[in-house]
Symmetry: C2
Subunit: 397 residues, 2 copies
């Protein structure tokens, strides 16, 4: 059709995802993609899901509409998972089920933000969060991260200087893309700042259950009540369940629920029933998490060892303790945006740091995903990356 | 938690759904609900869905993330269904898959509307559409309906007088709540007005495949290209698939797709695979539609016959030709908002017309759903309604 329809002002403000455009390139058969954020297909429990689905489908109500807030049974098991993470009771009524945690973030932003409201994000940022806040018309401010997560002192300084955000977004544990985990003292400090300055912390926690060496530090929500927690079944069960959740203050939750009702009525009763079954089967779930953590730990080790071997001092590589990503900083001035086309010619994809940048260039950084591929492919991917880098070892500085 | 979070200006403008509050009341075991818009659970093909799901789950990719625009195979079968409805070729690329057609509507509104933009809806309105347009900050104008659907002459007069909507929303076939179908001449006239005044028609068509007496008239989209069509698997397959779609101009579709990506990334690969399987199995799907249409036709007949018998001339009752709803107008001045509490005491629920009103009171109207219950329960429900009405036959005028 040739009809031209002008788009809304808001939509024009949403940055196109460079990652997404990149994924099209890395979908080529001959490219090993270290770019995408997909969990490993070979680790997805499709057989256990088949058993649960077939049990659920004996009841015709499993394919009917459900309540907007989510299936009671799922809200109960999620509340139990959350209670264990946060270290205090969480009621099923405190949980709102969403279509992945991405929808929780989008609904939350729309429920709370007016155009022009200030929002703080991590720099480098989870791009999905940046897009949501842009779509909500927010004024987005980035706070730099280091290996201990967001620099909360830097945030405190901005607040002292007058910044008044409505929301502060953090992927507090095994962050995407930086891989870093917010240090315990910074968690307490962030919760205290939320109380002092009246903002809400959005603690986005899709990776908290996939730590390689025991559970991560207690979440920000353990340190104060001005925290909304977002969680997801996508990284621990399967993305196609489209099950995420939001846990937060009651009046906010009611507002988000109202918005969810006019957004898409409800989540799938069927996939919620399946998710509830799998989470509630604690013997299976614990064993599954163990398999997942072990496999991801070995994959992370394969990538970081290969990077050290191939690049030596020319790259600072993060040491992942969980999650799906490691973060490279080239110390030799290699500009990763220029490295990428050469890397693709060598048959490997990654995401240049600039794709995650908010207020600083990150031109010499790169995100590598270690989740999607088995170890041999990861090693080969890093070798190809090194070959591309060797073509022109120092591009600029 | 006791933290108070102020909600966004936009969310405060969204009318709470009276229907939703009502559904809580009608969920009581002893109440026959003629209120809700649920398809009949006993007619949902859960066994066919089980077969398709189990086949899909042999492939671990069925539980992985998928493309934002939707699963290729599903887009192809939806394009074929749409082509048959519209009477011209529709390409798979023209189709965007959404989480039910409600999400298509929400994304479309967010992609196109700026706050203050004018939008035209039918009066009585599909409440889910009203809420979406309120959430988008639109100025909503209602155009009265009669038994031939929206009064397009009245719309033409408003346009001639200066109204300049960005969107005109119509449930053109077997409308919710009015049950009416837009007459063929009005369809052509609406498409012509869209061309002349530059607005976009949103043709919301979840019921078009469940006509009782053959296919409904060619859609508005058959008459012009300034039409976005929304469709859904919820009423013809099952709500828990959460599969809907949007078919429309390419630049608009690309904008909606970008917004969908930051809203919830993608629909479920699993339920999309299942929907594609069922739609593609044309022998099964045709037989299923036949069963569904026959059952719904018989249920509609049961309700309308019982209403005529119980209320005689005191009620004008619509003659449903498809869909899920019939519309009552009390000619004796009975105010349905006052009838409702008495009806609930007699063990029957319905939705008073006022819940669907935009610019006129509709105080003596009521929507009855004939889809959810079998015939005997429908008859008993109408008898209870008549008993409640007999308590105070003429309340006011």
């Amino acid at each position: 059709m040739t009809v031209t329809v002008p788009l809304s002002t808001r939509l024009r403000e949403v940055r196109g995802s460079a990652i997404r455009d990149l994924l099209a390139l890395t979908a080529r058969e001959d490219v090993i993609s270290l770019a995408g954020g997909l969990p490993a297909t070979d680790l997805l429990p499709h057989e256990r899901i088949a058993t649960a689905t077939s049990a659920a489908l004996r009841d015709p109500n499993s394919v009917q509409y459900g309540e907007t807030a989510g299936l009671r049974g799922l809200r109960e098991v999620v509340a139990a998972l959350e209670a264990e993470r946060v270290g205090r009771p969480v009621a099923a009524d405190d949980v709102l089920v969403t279509s992945g945690s991405q929808q929780a973030l989008d609904l939350l932003a729309r429920a709370v933000l007016d155009p022009g409201d200030a929002v703080v994000v991590e720099d480098p940022v989870y791009v999905g969060a940046l897009q949501v806040f842009q779509a909500a018309g927010a004024a987005v401010h980035g706070i730099p991260m280091d290996t201990d997560g967001m620099d909360v002192d830097a945030l405190a300084a901005r607040l002292a200087a007058g910044l008044r955000p409505r929301l502060v977004h953090t992927v507090s544990t095994f962050q995407n893309p930086r891989g870093a985990t917010l240090a315990p003292a910074r968690r307490a400090q962030l919760a205290a700042l939320a109380g002092r300055y009246g903002f809400l912390v959005v603690e986005d926690d899709p990776y908290g259950l996939i730590g390689f060496a025991g559970p991560p530090p207690p979440p920000v929500a353990a340190h104060g009540d001005r925290v909304v927690r977002l969680g997801s079944a996508s990284k621990v069960l399967a993305p196609a369940l489209r099950v995420g959740w939001l846990v937060g203050p009651g009046d906010l939750r009611a507002g988000v629920e109202r918005l969810k009702q006019c957004t898409d009525l409800c989540a799938s009763t069927l996939t919620q029933t399946v998710a509830a079954d799998l989470f509630a089967d604690t013997a299976w779930f614990d064993a599954h998490l163990h398999r997942l953590r072990t496999a991801l730990r070995d994959r992370a080790a394969a990538v970081t060892a290969a990077v050290r071997e191939a690049f030596g001092d020319a790259v600072d590589c993060s040491e992942p303790e969980g999650g799906m990503f490691c973060w490279l900083e080239f110390t030799d001035g290699t500009r990763t945006g220029e490295l990428l086309p050469r890397a693709l010619r060598h048959g490997v994809g990654f995401v240049p740091g600039a794709a995650f940048a908010v207020g600083r260039p990150l031109d010499t950084a790169a995100r590598l995903s270690f989740a999607t591929n088995p170890e041999a492919a990861l090693r080969e991917g890093v070798h190809r990356l090194a070959a591309a880098w060797c073509e022109a070892p120092v591009a600029a500085s």
